[in-house]
């Protein structure tokens, strides 16, 4: 399993077995919403704020 760290609180993150690109996950430590960018190597970014009203 590949590791990464939360861009908000730097906490270590381990990719779940069925992790998928574009998946939204929650940092178990600080609760930030993160977006999986790549699975191998495992990398995440903070997910963009939800649009104030609905998507396009």
């Amino acid at each position: 399993m590949s590791n990464s760290s939360c861009p908000v609180c730097d906490n270590a993150l381990i990719a779940a077995a069925n992790a998928q690109v574009s998946e939204l996950i929650i940092c178990p430590d600080c609760g930030s919403e993160l977006e999986i960018k790549t699975v191998n190597p495992f990398s995440v970014v903070e997910a963009p704020r939800e649009e104030e009203d609905w998507g396009e």
Partner: protein, 271 residues
């Protein structure tokens, strides 16, 4: 100033609309769709259209690069230029533009749509977004030199990408900057119908607060349409007409009161 929205349905009588417009004294801008043409072209080119439904219940077309090509061919190419051609044949010196031309309609790319896929919450990005600014300098330049703008998607985002957007949202931004008194939408129905399967159930008059109520109960695309009309009134429109674009004289009939006339209620919250 009048804003004319020509829907993209197959049965819209564009010839009739343009003929009527050629007799108009008041200046107008045309905004048009081409969804029927786009779908037909997609089918003939064996391009399957991907619909995504966001977790908050709104469904929309997933606009990848191929979809933007389709918009350029169907909206910006075939439909826009056939409307411009018809205008020229009726003495209307039209100039067709997308939002990309001269940065006519500037928008912000969607940061992403949250969807559920393989039981996972995911975020997907495409070439779509919302308009927030019109290049009024260019629009006035055309209007002041007696050219009639005929506008359509795609619009342009902050990085200069062509992005898909909703014509109804474009009209809201256009109306906000133009303060157009009247907006006429030509659709493939006699107007708003009490019962969607009964053409005779046209509601002839509504006011803006009715629209707000309707919006709460509506779903999907119709919810979005009502929301856009609601915003028009917030930005100062006085009259929105939902008229039948299929009949012989769509514009004349609309101005004679056929279809659904939506007006600002005297005691609405915006006065």
């Amino acid at each position: 100033m009048l804003i004319i929205k020509i829907g993209g349905g197959k049965e819209i009588n564009i010839r009739g609309i343009i003929k009527d417009l050629s007799g108009m004294k008041e200046q107008f801008i045309i905004v048009h769709g081409a969804n029927a043409l786009r779908d037909e072209l997609a089918e003939r080119l064996a391009i399957s259209k991907k619909i995504v439904t966001s977790v908050s219940g709104y469904s929309s077309v997933y606009s990848d690069e191929t979809m933007i090509d389709l918009l350029f061919m169907a909206y910006a190419g075939l439909r826009n230029k056939r409307i411009v051609e018809l205008c020229q044949q009726n003495g209307i010196n039209a100039v067709g533009m997308t939002g990309v031309d001269g940065k006519m309609i500037q928008g912000k790319r969607n940061t992403g749509i949250r969807i559920r896929e393989d039981e996972k919450l995911k975020i997907i990005r495409d070439f779509s977004g919302k308009p927030f600014h019109i290049n009024m300098e260019l629009l006035h330049l055309l209007l002041e030199h007696a050219y009639t703008p005929v506008l359509t998607i795609p619009i342009i985002d902050e990085q200069g990408h062509a992005i898909n957007s909703e014509n109804d949202d474009i009209i809201v931004v256009l109306q906000k900057e133009f303060k157009a008194g009247t907006v006429i939408h030509f659709i493939e129905a006699p107007g708003f119908l009490e019962k969607s399967d009964d053409p005779a159930s046209v509601i002839s008059h509504l006011n803006d607060s009715d629209i707000a109520l309707w919006e709460e109960q509506a779903q999907g695309r119709f919810k979005r349409k009502l929301h856009a009309i609601h915003k028009l009134f917030e930005n100062g429109t006085s009259t929105v007409i939902i008229a039948d674009g299929r009949i012989e004289h769509p514009v004349n009939k609309a101005l004679e009161g056929y279809g659904t006339i939506i007006q600002r209620s005297r005691y609405g919250k915006y006065n």
